[in-house]
Homo-oligomer: 417 residues x 2
């Protein structure tokens, strides 16, 4: 009960703070971000000390390599956080933008204006960097934020939140605009997900288990993405050298991320020429292949099973399938894909346009790597995540996606008849 | 289990249909809408017969006045549906609109294009008109739709859906683009709300109980509005005649709807002049007042209790409160309001701008009636509902709100370095 009351109070305080934060000038918000950058720089020793406590606890619990690595706040990572805060401060403020304005026949002037979403909840796993990165974006877009980090980063998150609140105070922003759920009690997450009256949206960041848990238990809307089963389709009219370069980049440039290619689809007309050439380049990059029946006749590689087409490997494994047409490639994508990112490689104007129109993924590319599905790469200037659900935001989410629009109307006494 | 399988199949078929519907030309969709208008006109007798069965059953169950009235498909209501279909056909198609396009430093041309949401579920109560109105908007925006009407309109909804599917077929659109959950089993709604893999968004239309049930049980996102506790604030610098006209219109022009005023806030400086004048006009329009302590000293009216400030009367009752400043008026709105619609009446430039900026409701008006919060009145050309949650859409929702955007990228072989 004490826990429930604590979280309910946090929600109320965040709601109150959000009402003030919605009308802040960009200057005030930027001042907070720059102050936070200064505090990070001047608190390097304290940050390292807090982080050391988490790392010791993790070592005692035999946390494995990559999880342990993500937990570390190295000097380089602090530098990156500082640079990131200055970048966010330099971005244009989405709040207050009039996205449209028009005149009604009765003289009422109606418009739509960007306003913050209100209170944003962020539930995330081991990386304590997220505490600063996510808070910065939420605040820049005028939102209050309630953070709930992983228990393994408890001390780091706690100290970073203290700095964030200090920066809020010194820029005269409401300190309850940033709050951290400071308990390792897992029940806290469930209670947080019930605060639909005070939290406008929940953004889970982490593995699929966490995201599914949040989606199933949240009473408020959730911005989420489950997985990225991304495809590159090499068309019969593709430039095969370009197709090879794009395939290697999409798979191997950073295989552990959601916008990496998981399945390569190849038109039957070019399979015999393309596959040996691509396989050579892919294998040089460390990629191991799993092919459909037709692929294994051309290449010596492991056979793929039905499960492989659904798989998000997140490693250097690649499924390969030969298809008879672009229609078959699109049917494969609709059946097995996750609506994340798909690319076609073709020199055909007609097929490029058709693929762009018919594939309904969050990013559809012609002649470019799937790895571009990223807020920074697409030019949004920031990224809070990638959404694979269609509501509110589909694909990379930047500052604009942390806002909504309200209608405004300038009248001269209009009444409805 | 049979029911669960049936609904799961409907979801799958809707998903398949939605993939085709996303690439339809506007011509094809408009042809379907016009065909439906023709079918309604030529099937008046059959519609009346189906509706009669529902009305008989309702009479046998002693359904009361307004509920019985809403169930009726009168010749006038059929005329309105026909006119509405032609109007929707005449609206611009939101699908395919490139809302933005820009160039990245590496030459990648990135854009955002409107696409349909996918599959939309509509759960509604007694009015069978919704079957046609909601389906028309979903289809025009390229979506497949699964309808679940009230059991009291079973025969009417069933026959109207047959006509819709006939119109789909004759325009060569996939018939599973429109489906009705044809059972009065209440369990069906629960199962429908679990189909997150095939239904992209659920839109409940009806009373607060229905909407809360949907919001609590849906696995997919929900576009909803609970209630409209709308305010008019009469400022110290208001034109008092204008304020009276707006107050009467906002309260009494149609009191049973969500954008009607429920609480009138009056600045203390003008209360003694304004209240008697406004009360006279309001009482002439049949309105009965409940006033705060200061109001009852000026007017002879019932005193208001704390509960009155939260109340959505939906009738000719109006709560009245005297406030000392615009700050107090805004604090009242933030505390008791529902973020639906608020208006200020003022001749002060500064206060008009401040009120527009600080009030975070879905529509904020200066010197105009709250009754304008309606998709048609605001110029959206259509309305599927009004959202009071911030995600995806806030306020009146037209065709655009039944779409989302995907990113597209035109490359020349770009890879990520």
């Amino acid at each position: 009960m004490a826990l429930e009351q604590m979280i309910r109070d946090m929600g109320q305080q965040a709601r109150q703070a959000s009402l003030q934060m919605a009308s802040l000038t960009s200057e005030a918000k930027n001042q907070m971000l720059q102050e936070m950058a200064r505090l990070l720089d001047s608190s390097r020793d304290e940050i390292a000390a807090a982080n050391a406590k988490d790392l010791e606890a993790a070592a005692a619990r035999n946390l494995e390599g990559s999880k342990l690595d993500r937990l570390k706040l190295t000097p380089k990572r602090i530098d990156d956080l500082i640079a990131g805060l200055h970048d966010v401060a330099a971005l244009p403020d989405p709040v207050g933008e009039v996205t449209k304005m028009w005149m009604r026949p009765n003289g009422l002037q109606v418009g739509r204006v960007r306003i913050p979403l209100g209170v944003i909840g962020i539930i995330y796993e081991s990386r304590p960097n997220v505490t600063v990165e996510a808070a910065a974006l939420c605040i820049k877009a005028g939102n209050a934020v309630i953070l709930r980090g992983g228990s393994e980063a408890f001390h780091s998150n706690s100290f970073l939140t203290q700095l964030l609140q200090q920066a809020m105070a010194s820029a005269s922003l409401p300190v309850h605009g940033v709050q951290l759920v400071e308990t390792t009690d897992r029940e806290a997450v469930k209670i947080l997900l019930e605060q639909e009256d005070t939290i406008d949206v929940m953004i889970p960041r982490g593995g699929e288990t966490l995201i599914r848990f949040v989606a199933e238990n949240a009473r408020m809307p959730v911005l989420k993405h489950y997985k990225g089963v991304c495809h590159v389709y090499v068309d019969s009219e593709a430039d095969l050298n370009m197709a090879t370069e794009i395939s290697v980049n999409a798979k191997a440039q950073r295989p552990g991320v959601c916008n990496a290619m998981e399945t390569l689809l190849v038109h039957a007309d070019v399979a015999e020429t393309f596959l040996p050439q691509a396989a050579k380049a892919l294998q040089e990059a460390g990629v191991s292949l799993r092919g459909c029946e037709r692929t294994v006749k051309i290449l010596s590689c492991e056979p793929a099973t039905e499960d492989d087409w659904y798989e998000e490997y997140l490693n250097l494994t690649l499924a390969v399938r030969v298809v008879d047409s672009m229609d078959d490639a699109i049917a494969h994508i609709h059946k097995y894909g996750s609506q994340h990112t798909e690319a076609i490689v073709t020199e055909s104007y007609k097929k490029a346009q058709d693929f762009l129109r018919r594939v309904l993924s969050s990013l559809v590319l012609v002649n470019a790597s799937t790895r571009f599905n990223d807020g920074f790469q697409l030019g949004l200037g920031a990224e809070i995540g990638i959404s694979t659900s269609r509501l509110h935001a589909f694909g990379a989410m930047g500052l604009e996606e942390l806002t909504t629009t309200k209608f405004i109307a300038y009248g001269q006494g209009q009444i409805r008849t």
